[in-house]
């Protein structure tokens, strides 16, 4: 049975491990408007969280945003690496987000075929 006590022990372990506490992490932002949720944004986010756990990826911040208007391109996922421009991916699925995490976030190669342009507004 998992308890909040386990969390406290985890905290101690993780705080001991942390060498540099830097806020300079990669941000992954998933669109969670009604359109996004209907298109499967929650499953995409779940895939991100599972991959973080599986690969033990550190310093990743996972966030959500509302509808930005490109509903037909949902699920939209933004990847922001410190010092780099924000890249918006469209029509993301749980499999594709794993590909994005591995190729772009871990290996630094933007996945060109999944990128969508930003709308001018």
């Amino acid at each position: 049975m998992k308890t909040v006590e386990d969390l406290k022990k985890l905290k101690e372990k993780l705080q001991a491990q942390k060498l540099n506490h830097s806020d300079e992490g990669v941000q992954i932002i998933v669109g969670m408007g009604t359109c996004g949720i209907a298109a499967g944004a929650r499953e995409v986010l779940k895939a991100v969280m599972d991959e973080i756990t599986k690969r033990n990826l550190q310093q990743i911040s996972v966030r959500q945003t509302g509808c930005i208007g490109m509903c037909e391109k949902e699920v939209l996922v933004d990847v922001v690496k410190p010092g780099e421009p924000r890249i918006t991916y469209g029509r993301v699925t749980p499999d594709r987000v794993v590909q994005i995490l591995v190729e772009h976030v871990v290996n630094g190669r933007i996945v060109e075929e999944l990128v969508v342009g930003k709308i001018e507004s």
């Binding site: 969390l7 408007g33 949720i37 209907a38 779940k46 973080i52 690969r55 509302g66 208007g69 509903c71």
Partner: protein
């Protein structure tokens, strides 16, 4: 139609868009009364009387990117198809309470769905939000508070891999449902 856990995720987005710093989610299953109740309370900017009257209309929305807002209309429709209702109570400047009641045994009642994924998503992607969750199934009661978890974590992020895993297992254990 989508499952209820997705509607919950969707409606809480409304609270966040309204600037809420506190959201209380209650999911109550009462077998005797044969009801499933979902209540979302927030301290966002609220809606005035005129807006509350109109907001079930899919063509009424506060978002500027589209002229359609489906979140509340979809819940309104699904609840009323299940002998239930959607109640909207709001005070401008204070907050809003959305209550959706379904007849639990109704054939058209959408399944609860993957509540673990919804709660995990809400907790992880909104670290500044004071999120309170109460799940009651007859006598059983599970309570979660992000403040309490954050106190235990003392600065460690929810996005850390081991924390994500703990959260996932903690939620799955406590929300274990033999749902269709």
């Amino acid at each position: 139609m989508r499952d209820l856990s997705l509607h919950v995720l969707d409606l809480i987005q409304n609270s966040l868009e309204a600037g809420a710093s506190w959201v209380h989610l209650e999911i109550l299953l009462d077998s005797q009364a044969d009801t499933l109740t979902i209540r979302i309370s927030d301290n966002g900017r609220g809606m005035d009387e005129a807006m509350v009257k109109q907001v079930r209309d899919p063509f009424v929305t506060t978002r500027t990117t589209r002229r359609v807002g489906l979140g509340l209309p979809l819940v309104d429709m699904s609840a009323s198809h299940c002998n239930g209702y959607l109640d909207i109570f709001s005070t401008p400047g204070q907050g809003t309470v959305i209550t959706a009641v379904y007849q639990e045994s109704h054939l058209d009642r959408p399944p609860l769905g993957d509540l673990t994924a919804t709660i995990q998503t809400l907790v992880v992607t909104n670290p500044e939000l004071d999120f309170q969750f109460d799940y009651r199934k007859n006598q059983r009661h599970f309570h979660l508070s992000t403040r309490e978890l954050q106190q235990a974590l003392d600065g460690v992020s929810f996005s850390q891999p081991e924390v994500l895993q703990w959260l996932n297992e903690y939620l799955r254990e406590n929300l274990q449902e033999k749902e269709k």
